[in-house]
Structure formats: structure tokens, C-alpha cells
């Protein structure tokens, strides 16, 4: 075993079992159950964009519905972060799990501030990198979510020996801000986030 790793032999989930919207988008569900294999037999553009009608049909604008930011989207944002000690994603290590992500709507009609709560599960209870991982998740979300979201990253109860301490650190805005100005730490985080799509 490799002594300088906290957990040299983590359990690994199979990508097919990880929830993700990204890959779904390639296959769209259709009412007739077909996969749309035959859809492109007749190339679309021949009839559909007669450029001479363009001026009218242009600005195809918002095709209506508002795709709200949901837990799945948050999961997709953070599951691809890679673990600082394995070349594996937090998703496949089950450090972040869809059911442990909650989006809490604004507490009052006068507020538009929602809260994202992410509970992470370190690969083992004394993983010294829990803080770094947590920080990575928090930073990723602060960079990727609109400011109307407050991000609370916590260690899942009972999965870590010092979870309270870690949670307090992750919750401290000032410490996080300072951490992001620390070149060394930032280096580690960049490496973790470099695998994010």
C-alpha cells in the first residue's frame, strides 16, 4: 500500500450508475418509445431553414420553459471534481451523492436567496483531505452558481472524526476567501477542478 495516501484503495462506482443529466441529453425520450434512429434520414436543413424566410423565423428566441437549477445540476457541477489523491471523480468515489444535495427555496417572499446544502462523504472517517475536498466543492459552486445561492458544504454526519471542526471552517466565509488567495492551496484546488466540464 502507499502509506502517504489516507485511503489508497477506495471503492469505485460505475459511471453507468451515476446520475447525470449531461449524458441523458444525447438521448431524448419520445412518446412513441422510438430512439429517433430514423430522424436524420432526411437532413433537416433542406426544407426547414429556407434562408429567405429567415428574417421572420429568426430570433427563435426562448422556446418557453425555464429550466430551473435543480439538485441534479448541482450534482453535475461537483461530481466531476477529482479527488486530490486519486485520479477519480468525487462522483465515482461516492464522496458527493445526489440524495445529499438539497436546494432550499427563499425563506420569505421578500427574499430571492436560495440555499444549496451539500453533504459530502469522505472516503474514510479520518480522511485528512476532507477539508480540501469540501473547500473544492464550495469554491466550485461559488464560481458556478449565480450569487442568489448561498452555498453550505458540510461533512455528512458521523462520516468523519472531526466533522464539526471541518464544517465550521467550510462555513467561514472569511477563511474561504483567504484560502483562495493562497497560491499553494489554489494550485491544489485548480488541479481538482481541472477535470470539471
Amino acid at each position: 500500500m502507499d502509506p502517504n495516501k489516507d485511503n489508497a484503495n477506495p471503492t469505485i462506482l460505475n459511471p453507468s450508475d451515476l446520475p447525470s443529466r449531461r449524458r441523458e441529453s444525447t438521448v431524448k425520450r419520445r412518446n412513441d418509445g422510438a430512439s429517433g434512429l430514423f430522424d436524420d434520414l432526411i437532413p433537416r436543413y433542406n426544407y426547414l431553414n429556407d434562408p429567405f424566410e429567415q428574417s421572420e423565423l429568426s430570433s427563435d428566441s426562448e422556446d418557453g420553459e425555464f429550466e430551473h437549477i435543480d439538485e441534479q445540476e448541482v450534482y453535475d457541477l461537483i461530481s466531476s471534481i477529482s479527488d486530490p489523491e486519486h485520479p477519480l471523480s468525487l462522483g465515482s468515489l461516492a464522496v458527493v451523492n445526489l440524495p445529499d444535495i438539497r436546494i432550499q427555496p427563499p425563506t420569505s417572499p421578500f427574499s430571492s436567496i436560495s440555499t444549496v446544502v451539500v453533504e459530502i462523504t469522505p472516503t474514510i472517517t479520518h480522511c485528512s483531505l476532507a477539508t480540501v475536498i469540501g473547500l473544492g466543492v464550495r469554491v466550485r459552486l461559488e464560481q458556478a452558481l449565480p450569487p442568489r445561492f448561498r452555498v453550505d458544504v458540510r461533512i455528512k454526519k458521523g462520516t468523519h472524526s472531526t466533522d464539526e471542526a471541518v464544517n465550521k471552517q467550510l462555513g467561514d466565509k472569511e477563511r474561504v476567501a483567504a484560502a483562495l488567495e493562497n497560491a499553494t492551496l489554489m494550485g491544489v484546488l485548480r488541479k481538482m477542478l481541472s477535470t470539471c466540464e
Partner: protein, 452 residues
């Protein structure tokens, strides 16, 4: 807009946003003791000096720090120049000087559009005077003592440092206080005595004073359940301006209560991650050994102080409360934090037969704190929310609020104050506090506030 659950007597109205705003997070804003200017600590490593008359940028102080500037403070009581202290995440504090020309600053308009750019090297610019090194990690807060003799700084290295300026730009470390076992988030000075307070990540608040030229902790306050972000003292002699001003018609108990407060001296307010704002009062000494002017032999014995929970303000915040400010003019308290709200509280006499009112005004008595019974008999005042503002900086967090004298043309009365809020959006906003008269119902001004 105001929450319907409270009947509010006041409303905060936007007066201005200091422009141009910073492109990144701003941490704290310090009004100048005498001039109509403020200094704002920015995460882009600069300090921005704005005018409170024109609400525009006068100077951008750059090049001093390698990391975020977290805290700024004007040295009080200096003539002929302005002295600014800056505390940064780069673990150093800087002292800056600017020669002071006529109070009304015409430069204002020549410099207004300097924006972030630090091109202009005019000699009326802030000059770097000296650097205070010593802290091992980020400086989180600093404060000048009222006399200007001392400068206190605190840091993530868990220590509080007190510097004394022997002569210009020659600072000596007079104390390194390491009582806390967590980041020290805030330091502030007592308005009348050389008494320093610090609040910390370790959930505690500590007070220090000099004892036979050695600075020592004289009290520790554990009431908050989580990080204490800010601690500030009440102004000096507030009894003459706040709810105590009107003496006639008061019952005997109330008069005694006022005397008690008088003997305690200015009170202390703290706010915390636990979403509460709490007040603390020093237990007065017995008449005969009235604090000062006593033989120095036994003083050190008597130096320890006892700070009692006085009140817990109505809890309006739903997330960490980062900052509060206690008006020296009106005794009003303003608080703000992560939930983006600004709350204004006012102290008043309890209605004689109603121990605690709908506003959940909880003071020592109803506060779940120790020596309840002792407090009980004195619990004669209560705090109520008089104004509440949602999303003062849109969806962004508010890092700091403070009262400041209103200095623009529109000032309505002698000594009018405005609230300055400093946010993650890089903006410093200026608010006036207006009393609601009867015909102006909640609804209408709620609408007005929407565009805030």
C-alpha cells in the same frame, strides 16, 4: 420592503451608491472622524476613498498589499493630515498619510473618474508611510484607540497585537495577546477607557486592559454558540441622548436602572454566526472602590471585570450576522449579514404591566442566560426592531454596516446620520432612516423599497 409580521416605525431609503463601485468583494467601510470621506477595504488589494458629499471615488490606494485589504481605520484626532491604517490578508498592516488641504475637497471632480486605475501620482495622493509586520497570517480587523495612541490588530494566528505610535511612523509592539484559541475576527476600543475588546472564531469575546504596564485579559464572555463576527461598544454618555434622556415621569425603579447603567458605563454589543445580536453590561463596582483612583497595590486584584448578559436583540437574521454599529448620536443599533438584510433596533422602556411585548423584545430577563434572577429585577428596558430592509445589496451578502454623519447637500437636520452598508457586490450603499408617519402605510413604502 418590510415584513408584515412587525409593525415598524421607520424605513431605510436608498440615498446613493458610492460610484464607481469595485468589481469585486468589498469588506468594510470606515467613515473619517472629521472629514466627509470614507475608506473602503477591497478584495482587489486596494482601498477606495469616496466622498460622502458627491458619493464619488476620490482616491484609489493601490500597491501596498499583496492580498485582500480586509480592514481599514482612520486615526482619530490628527490635525493637518489624514492617517489611515490598513489590515490585509497578506498578514501586514500599512499606515498611509495624506496631507490635508481645505476640508471641502475640490479634487473630488478632477479625480472622480480615476476608477481602479492607480495612474495618478499627484502628491495629494495617499503616501505609504510604514508597514507593521508581525502577524503570522491574515489580519482580520484593526482599530485605533479613541486617543489615537494605540492601534490594535487581530489575525487568524489567534493573536491580538497592540501597537503604540511613539513618534510618527515609529510603532512599537506593546502587547501580543494570545488568549483566543481561534481566529480573532474583530477588535474595538472602549470610548472612555483604554479597554480593548476582541471577538473570535472560538465563539468567545475577551476584554483587555493595561495593568502595571502589562496588557492582560480582564474578562471573557461566552454567550454566543458560534463564531463572534463583531463586537462594538456603546457611545459615551448616551444616557443624555437615547431613551433615557426623558427623565420626568419615570418610576423609581427606572431611575435606579438608569443609574445602574451609568455606573456600568458604555455597554457592549456583539453579533455572531448564531444569527443573534447580544448586549453585555459591566457589573458596576461597589460605591467605595469606584473603579479608578485607588491605591495601585490592590488594583491588579480588582482588575478583573464581570460582564453580564444584558439583552438579546429580536432575532431577525436567518444567517450569520457579520456586522453591527451602535449610533453615538441616537443609540440606535444597526446590524447586517449573510442574509442580505439590514435591521435597525431601538431601546425603549418596557410597558410597566407587559413584561415582554409582541416584538419578542428579549432582554436579560427573558434571555436564557445565567444569573437571570439577578438581572430580573433590573430588566426595565427592551429592544424593538424599528426598520427592516431585505436584500439591501440584491442577492449579495453584506459584510459591514456602520452609522456615519450625513454630509451631502440634502442633510435634513443637525447631526443627521446615514447607514453605510458594504457588500460582496463591491458596492457601498448609503441609506437614510425615515420615520413613517401614519398615512404612509406599509404597502406604499414597501413599493418604494422594491427599487432599493
Amino acid at each position: 420592503m418590510t415584513s408584515p409580521t412587525l409593525a415598524l416605525s421607520h424605513v431605510l431609503r436608498p440615498l446613493a451608491t458610492l460610484s464607481p463601485p469595485s468589481n469585486s468583494r468589498t469588506w468594510q467601510t470606515a467613515p473619517h472622524p472629521s472629514q466627509p470621506i470614507v475608506a473602503t477595504a477591497c478584495s482587489d488589494r486596494t482601498v477606495r476613498v469616496y466622498s460622502l458629499t458627491s458619493f464619488t471615488l476620490l482616491h484609489s490606494i493601490t500597491g501596498g498589499h499583496k492580498r485582500s485589504v480586509r480592514s481599514v481605520g482612520w486615526k482619530p484626532g490628527v490635525r493637518g493630515q489624514s492617517v489611515l491604517a490598513t489590515g490585509s490578508f497578506d498578514a501586514s498592516a500599512g499606515i498611509w498619510r495624506r496631507r490635508e488641504d481645505d476640508e471641502s475637497e475640490p479634487k473630488d471632480f478632477t479625480n472622480r473618474n480615476t476608477g481602479d486605475s492607480d495612474e495618478e501620482e499627484e502628491d495629494d495622493d495617499y503616501q505609504f508611510a510604514c508597514i507593521l509586520d508581525g502577524h503570522e497570517s491574515e489580519i482580520k480587523s484593526l482599530a485605533w484607540s479613541p486617543s489615537g495612541q494605540y492601534l490594535a490588530t487581530c489575525s487568524r494566528d489567534k493573536s491580538v497585537w497592540i501597537w503604540e505610535e511613539l513618534e510618527d511612523d515609529n510603532f512599537e509592539t506593546v502587547a501580543v495577546l494570545t488568549e483566543h484559541d481561534g481566529d480573532v475576527k474583530c477588535v474595538n476600543w472602549h470610548p472612555e477607557e483604554d479597554l480593548l475588546v476582541s471577538s473570535s472564531y472560538d465563539d468567545s469575546v475577551r476584554l483587555y486592559r493595561e495593568d502595571s504596564d502589562d496588557w492582560v485579559q480582564v474578562a471573557a464572555i461566552d454567550g454566543h454558540k458560534m463564531t463572534v463576527w463583531w463586537a462594538a461598544f456603546e457611545g459615551s454618555g448616551m444616557a443624555k441622548v437615547d431613551f433615557r434622556k426623558q427623565r420626568d415621569g419615570l418610576g423609581e425603579k427606572q431611575t435606579q436602572y438608569i443609574e445602574l447603567l451609568e455606573r456600568s458605563g458604555p455597554r457592549l454589543a456583539t453579533c455572531s454566526d448564531d444569527c443573534t445580536v447580544r448586549l453585555w453590561r459591566r457589573r458596576p463596582r461597589e460605591r467605595h472602590d469606584g473603579g479608578t483612583g485607588m491605591p495601585s497595590i490592590i488594583r491588579s486584584a480588582a482588575i478583573d471585570e464581570d460582564w453580564l448578559p444584558e439583552a438579546t436583540l429580536p432575532q431577525q437574521h436567518t444567517r450569520a450576522v457579520y456586522s453591527l454599529s451602535w449610533s453615538q448620536k441616537t443609540g440606535l443599533i444597526v446590524s447586517a449579514g449573510s442574509d442580505g438584510k439590514i435591521i435597525i433596533y431601538k431601546e425603549r422602556w418596557k410597558a410597566p404591566d407587559a413584561p415582554s411585548t409582541s416584538n419578542g423584545a428579549s432582554n436579560g430577563a427573558s434571555a436564557d442566560d445565567q444569573n437571570k434572577d439577578w438581572m430580573g429585577e433590573w430588566a426595565l428596558s427592551e429592544w424593538v426592531v424599528v426598520a427592516e430592509l431585505w436584500e439591501a445589496h440584491g442577492v449579495f451578502e453584506i459584510n459591514h454596516v456602520t452609522w456615519a454623519a450625513r454630509r451631502d447637500k440634502g442633510v435634513r437636520w443637525e447631526g443627521e446620520e446615514v447607514v453605510l452598508s458594504t457588500g460582496d457586490d463591491g458596492e457601498v450603499r448609503v441609506w437614510t432612516l425615515d420615520e413613517l408617519d401614519v398615512q404612509e402605510g406599509e404597502g406604499s413604502d414597501a413599493d418604494k423599497m422594491v427599487d432599493a
